[in-house]
Structures are given as structure tokens and as C-alpha cells.
């Protein structure tokens, strides 16, 4: 920045302050914690405060003895529970992302094609639920889907069913909950890329005799791919580690890795194993997160 150079020491001081403060904060409270998780994932659980063994044996031997152990990772490989949790989480996050795309794409397209005054109103209606509590919106589905909930009552009174359906505490409820809470994250980037779309391209293709489906697959969809990718990442990554939705709407056997990690930590109090679970989850997420960062940087420029 030219100003800093022109103003010499004082300008440089201001520039250094602006950069250093948030940088230091994020280093200390965002990056360093991951290193600690990584370190503790190699420790053994013990009954103490804190409940894990140190990395090095400081007191006993004079050449420090490395106490690190791969036990936690070996345990993750051996115990089927963790495999099942990871794979189920990936499956549930993937299918939920597809469902969000299926519902979100036509909604975003419909909003982008609406008249301008309607457009801002509809967009606001998409964003509005995001400002109310996420937890309470998940809870709303307990009221809807319960054995004596709104949906069962409605179906019973119409006579579609003879007895209440088991809807709450199933995988279907988890899908529903994820789509419901994350769909604004899908619609917004989709809308942003669909809104930029040149209507002339569409009209030209139609004039040349392309079917609406062909126009969609050859023009609209490829041009909106940045939005599709951004929206999918914004849904997939948090959904993979989701804890609240499977705990409130899923069955007892509905294992998702976020819930397994939480229970490992709070119920079994096995901090090293919870750290190992988190480390593996982070490795699964590195690729999607880097993709997301590249998209963010693309937006910047």
C-alpha cells in the first residue's frame, strides 16, 4: 500500500497493527488449538486432571521419553463403531446435499427470474429463518413429526393412515432436518450465479430451436456451476460434522460422527480418543475446505 510507504514509520505502525491483531488472535484461538488436538490424539487417557498422558515424560527419565502412542488411531481402525459413524455421516451429508440442490436450484432460479421488487422480498424470505434460532428450528420438527405431532394428527384425521407413523427418530427425519436448516446456504450462492446469467443466451438458444431441457443442460447449468459447487460445499461440510440434528431427530442407532465425538468426550470422557476422531474428521474435510477457500478467494478478486 502506497500510503504506508509515503508515511514512513507511523504508517507502517498502523499497517502492522491492522494485520497483527486479527492474525495473532486467529493463530492463538484457531490454528494452535488444532495442533493441540493433534498432539492429544497421541496420548493415553488417564484418570487425572487433565485426563490424558503428557507427550513427553518430563520427570522420570533424563533423556525425555516419548510417551506418544498410536493406540487411539489403531482403536479407530479396529472398532466398527467408528467406521460406521464416518461412512454414515458421509452418506447422510452427501444425500442431504443432493436434496438441498434438488429443492434449492429451482427455488433460486425462480427467484432470479422474478421481477426485481419480488426478488428482494423472496430473497429476504430465504434469509429470514437463518436469523431465528437454528436449535429452535430443529426443535420445530419434533413438534411436527412426533407420534402425536402435527403431521400424524393431520394424516389420521384425513384417514390416510390408521395408526401414527414413526417419523421422528429416523434417518428420514435427519435428512429433513439437514435440508430444512441448510437450504438457505444452498439457495444464496445459486441465486448469486443465476442472477448474473445473461437472459439473451437463453433466448438465443430457444430461438434456434433448442428444447427447454437442452437449454438448461447446455447453458444454464454449466454457467451456474460456481454456485452449485459453493452451495454444495456450504451444506456438505457442516452437515458432515452435524451434532444437533442427529441427536434431536435421529434414532439412538443413528450414528453420525459429530455425535460419536461428542459422546466420546462428554459421556466416556476419553479426550485422546475424541481428539483422534476429530483429527480423522479434519483430514476427511481438508479437500472440501480447500476447495471452499479457493472459491472464497475467487469471490474476492
Amino acid at each position: 500500500m502506497t500510503g504506508a510507504i509515503r508515511h514512513g514509520a507511523a504508517g507502517r505502525l498502523w499497517r502492522t497493527t491492522v494485520i497483527t491483531l486479527p492474525y495473532a488472535w486467529l493463530l492463538l484461538f484457531f490454528l494452535v488449538p488444532f495442533a493441540i488436538v493433534f498432539k492429544i490424539s497421541f496420548a493415553d487417557p488417564i484418570v487425572a486432571q487433565p485426563p490424558f498422558t503428557p507427550f513427553f515424560d518430563w520427570a522420570e527419565s533424563s533423556p525425555r521419553r516419548l510417551l506418544a502412542t498410536f493406540d487411539n488411531y489403531l482403536f479407530l481402525l479396529e472398532d466398527k463403531l467408528y467406521w460406521v459413524s464416518y461412512l454414515r455421516s458421509i452418506r447422510i451429508a452427501f444425500i442431504s446435499t443432493l436434496l438441498c440442490l434438488l429443492l434449492g436450484y429451482p427455488m433460486a432460479y425462480g427467484i432470479a427470474r422474478a421481477r426485481p421488487p419480488w426478488r428482494s422480498l423472496l430473497l429476504m424470505l430465504v434469509i429470514l429463518p437463518f436469523w431465528t434460532s437454528f436449535l429452535l428450528r430443529v426443535y420445530a420438527w419434533i413438534v411436527m413429526l412426533g407420534k402425536h405431532g402435527v403431521v400424524n394428527n393431520a394424516l389420521l384425521s384425513v384417514g390416510f393412515i390408521d395408526g401414527p407413523l414413526q417419523m421422528l427418530y429416523t434417518d428420514a427425519a435427519v435428512y429433513l432436518g439437514i435440508v430444512y436448516t441448510y437450504i438457505p446456504f444452498m439457495i444464496l450462492p445459486l441465486y448469486a450465479s443465476l442472477e448474473k446469467l445473461d437472459q439473451n443466451l437463453h433466448d438465443a438458444a430457444m430461438d434456434l430451436g433448442a428444447t427447454p431441457w437442452k437449454v438448461f443442460t447446455d447453458i444454464t447449468l454449466p454457467l451456474s456451476m460456481p454456485g452449485v459447487i459453493a452451495g454444495s460445499l456450504l451444506v456438505f461440510i457442516p452437515a458432515l460434522g452435524e451434532f444437533v440434528i442427529p441427536s434431536l431427530l435421529g434414532g439412538i442407532d443413528s450414528l453420525m460422527i459429530g455425535r460419536t465425538l461428542y459422546d466420546e468426550f462428554f459421556v466416556n470422557r476419553d479426550w485422546p480418543l475424541a481428539s483422534a476422531v476429530a483429527t480423522v474428521l479434519l483430514f476427511i474435510l481438508i479437500l472440501p475446505i480447500m476447495l471452499f477457500q479457493r472459491y472464497q478467494q475467487g469471490e474476492e478478486s
Binding site: T2, G3, V18, Y23, I40, P106, M107, S133, M206, F292
Partner: protein, 273 residues
């Protein structure tokens, strides 16, 4: 052409019904006199009365509000600096790491953020004695960390859409960089900072997972209390809490929309932005 717009219109109707019906049902049931979710027992305010007597929920709400105000304010300050760093400071060493640390908290699963922060606090306590106890202060630090990333993104996108020539002119006329930021940049990005503050406030008020990890004994925020209640099923008092929160949000949004509408009219109604 006709069939497609019918398709889009019906998807929009379905989508918005899907988004709003559960919220409306929640509001409706908060006025239900019957404690059973299944029967409509007539209109009543009894759950709101019960709420006023519920010390646990009131204290939790107060704690949550305190944490949200402090963390949103700090997150706005730090997030604004981060936004300036991303968009006005040019190149510097470690820029890639910095952009990564801004983008990652936006999508990082909460269980990972929560666990890592707790382990940091425990390790810090061992090394330095601080923080001596976990509670409101550690939750606040955790909330500042993830919400400053949101503020940074909002501020930096406002800076990116802004013409830099005003700042450059002020600099050419000999303004000190700090004075230029204070007198020119900050007033121009004030609306973005306000949206950032509101978003940080909402995120803090709503967070369950990270607060559960970073809190200590005795400090329970509103989402923590709500979660422990709704885990057991439908709780009419929670319906009342939900209705109050939804009411406040709706009022806030209507107010913001009205202010924006008025401002646009004052500008002569031109422009579509």
C-alpha cells in the same frame, strides 16, 4: 415456457411452505392451553406466565445476552481489522494462512472447533494458570473467534465493492493512514459493520455445541438449557421462548426493511441495489 414457469412457481410455493410451516406451528402451539402437543386446549398465555417464573431459563437468557453483546462487539472490531487486512493492506507474508483462517471457521464443524478450543483452554491453564475457570469468559472468546470470520467476510466484500479513490485522494493530500481509515473508510463501511455485528450477535445467541465444550460448571447459556429440555421431547415453555425470539427477529427485520426502503426513497428511488 408456460409449463416451466408453473414448475418454478410451484417449487417456490412448496419451498417457502416447507420453510415457514414448522415455524408457524411452533408459534401457534405456544398459545395452546393444553400441555399435550396433540390436543388444542384453547388459547392461553399460560406458558408465557410459566416462563416468567422459570429462573433457570431467565438466568440462562441473561447470560446468553451478555455473552452475545460482548462477543459481537469484539468480533466486529477484530473482524473489521481482518477485512481491512484482506482488502486494503496489499501483500504481506503469511497472507495465504490468513485467508485460510478466515474461510475455515465458516464451514468448520462445530464439534471440532469446540473440542479444539476446550483443549487449548485446558493446556493454557496448565501452562500459565489462565483461564483459572471456564465459563462465560471462555465461551465469549470462542464466540469472538468464529464470528469474527463472518464479520471479516461481510466487511471485505463491502470494501471490494467500494471505490478506493476517496482513500487514495485523502492519502495523496497527506492524510495519515490511520486518520484516513478512521475518517473515510470506517464511515463508508459502517453499514457492513452493523450487519456484521448483528450476525455475530445472532450466531452467539444461537450457539449450542461450542458453548457446551468451552463452558465450565455452572455457566449454562440459553441454547444449553433449551437443548437439555427438548432432548426429552416437546416442551411447551420452549415453544413460548421460540415465539418470543421469532417475534423479536421479525420486528427487527421489518424495521431494517423499512429503514432501507426510506433511505432508498430519499435517494430518489433510483438504483436497484
Amino acid at each position: 415456457m408456460k409449463t416451466r414457469s408453473t414448475f418454478l412457481l410451484s417449487t417456490l410455493c412448496f419451498g417457502f411452505a416447507f420453510l415457514y410451516i414448522p415455524i408457524l406451528v411452533l408459534v401457534l402451539y405456544s398459545f395452546n392451553d393444553s400441555p399435550l402437543a396433540t390436543v388444542w386446549g384453547g388459547f392461553s398465555f399460560r406458558w408465557y406466565d410459566a416462563l416468567l417464573d422459570n429462573k433457570q431459563i431467565l438466568n440462562a437468557a441473561l447470560l446468553s445476552l451478555k455473552i452475545a453483546v460482548v462477543s459481537a462487539t469484539c468480533a466486529t472490531a477484530l473482524g473489521t481489522l481482518a477485512g481491512l487486512t484482506l482488502n486494503r493492506m496489499g501483500r504481506f507474508r503469511g497472507r495465504t494462512v490468513f485467508t485460510g483462517m478466515i474461510a475455515a471457521p465458516l464451514v468448520m464443524p462445530e464439534v471440532i472447533t469446540g473440542l479444539s478450543l476446550l483443549l487449548l483452554f485446558v493446556s493454557l491453564q496448565e501452562l500459565t494458570g489462565w483461564p483459572s475457570a471456564r465459563g462465560a469468559n471462555t465461551i465469549t472468546i470462542a464466540h469472538i473467534t468464529f464470528s469474527m470470520a463472518y464479520v471479516a467476510v461481510i466487511v471485505q466484500s463491502r470494501l471490494a465493492s467500494m471505490d478506493e479513490s476517496l482513500e487514495e485522494a485523502a492519502m495523496d493530500l497527506g492524510g495519515h493512514p490511520f486518520a484516513v481509515t478512521r475518517d473515510i473508510t470506517l464511515p463508508l463501511i459502517a453499514p457492513a459493520m452493523l450487519s456484521g455485528w448483528l450476525l455475530a450477535f445472532t450466531l452467539s445467541l444461537d450457539d449450542l455445541v461450542i458453548a457446551s465444550f468451552t463452558s465450565g460448571a455452572g455457566a449454562s447459556t440459553l441454547p444449553m438449557v433449551i437443548f437439555s429440555k427438548v432432548r426429552l421431547g416437546v416442551t411447551p415453555e420452549v415453544n413460548a421462548v421460540a415465539t418470543i425470539i421469532i417475534g423479536i427477529v421479525a420486528l427487527g427485520v421489518i424495521l431494517a426493511a423499512w429503514l432501507m426502503f426510506r433511505q432508498e426513497r430519499r435517494r430518489g428511488g433510483g438504483g436497484d441495489s
